[in-house]
């Protein structure tokens, strides 16, 4: 399976994502330049973390208009898997691939820390190798990660099982203290209505080896392999 990792000016996790795919999964990966108009036959697209276009105007607002995003939108519309990680999540929201938006952290500070998320839906193409309610240790690193959406959208996400990851404490409880950025309902990751676009603030590609402190992110990528192969 071929993963296409998009590099925007200011992306800084593209290399990590590339290595997670090639070294950990043993699958093929290719870098896709933001000015290109070709996904080069990629089966899965990764919008990586970073500070595309310096976060000018709003995080993700300008990257959304990069030429390659037209192809990414078409890929997503056709049911192709897309993962937006951190800045990639912000870009996916700005591009309308996912509902809602990511705003400045409630406490105004940049947070770089390992946090815990609970798997809220283990029946998506990105989470089928996790257990329901399993607690994962994955790092976050962001200043604009507070997920917000209108009440009716939040209701829709919750009722359709599209909240995939939620910030929790060590015991798995959803608490205000476990919420690192003030996200509505502790939301850390969501999927699109079609289930093929995942956006999340935590960095699974940085939790891919015991050397990195956690391997909990590996099964996210492996889940896609099982689903697409099946």
């Amino acid at each position: 399976m071929k993963f296409g990792v998009i590099t925007f000016p200011g992306s800084n996790c593209d290399y990590d994502a590339f290595r997670a795919v090639t070294d950990v999964l043993g699958e093929e990966a290719t870098y896709l330049w933001h000015k290109d108009h070709d996904l080069q036959g990629s089966d899965v697209i990764i919008l990586p973390g970073g500070f595309s276009y310096g976060d000018y105007l709003r995080a993700g607002a300008i990257a959304r208009f990069s030429p390659i995003m037209q192809e990414v939108a078409a890929h997503a519309k056709a049911g192709g898997p897309v993962i937006g990680i951190c800045n990639g999540f912000q870009i996916a929201c700005e591009a309308g691939l996912l509902p809602g938006a990511l705003m400045r952290n409630a406490h105004l500070q940049f947070v770089s820390a390992e946090i815990r998320v609970r798997v809220e839906n283990a029946d998506t193409m990105f989470t089928n190798l996790y257990e329901h309610a399993e607690i994962l240790r994955i790092p976050i690193a962001h200043g604009d990660g507070r997920y917000v959406a209108p009440p009716e959208v939040l209701h829709e996400l919750e009722s359709e099982g599209r909240v995939v990851f939620r910030y929790v404490d060590a015991s798995g409880a959803v608490t205000a203290d476990a919420n690192p950025n003030g996200s509505e309902q502790n939301i850390a990751g969501i999927v699109s209505a079609g289930g093929n676009v995942l956006g999340l603030m935590p960095h699974p590609e940085r939790a891919c080896s015991p050397l990195l402190g956690s391997s909990d992110g590996v099964r996210l990528l492996e889940s896609i392999l099982t689903r697409v192969a099946a």
Binding site: L57, R58, A61, F65, C93, E94, P99, G100, A101, M103, R104, N105, A106, H107, L108, R146, V148, A149, P150, G182
Partner: protein
Amino acid sequence: MSKFRIAVHITPRKGLLDPQGNAVKGALQTLGFKAVKDVHVGRYIIVEADAHDAIAAEEAVTDMCNKLLANPVTEDFEIESAVPS
């Protein structure tokens, strides 16, 4: 076609948590400005553009706000009258 200058105020949507505004409010109150009840921090954008008339210029900037300058989920915008520049 003439050149116009159109200014836009973009503010956090009412009712949404505005941590920047709250931080500035706290600082002002600490400074002794006890009358301060609320503060909101937004952006001020100035667009210079060619248009047939002021109305057309304002319409164009409204379109720009809807498509890029403001986030429809989290922000409100207000356009000032276009002035020849």
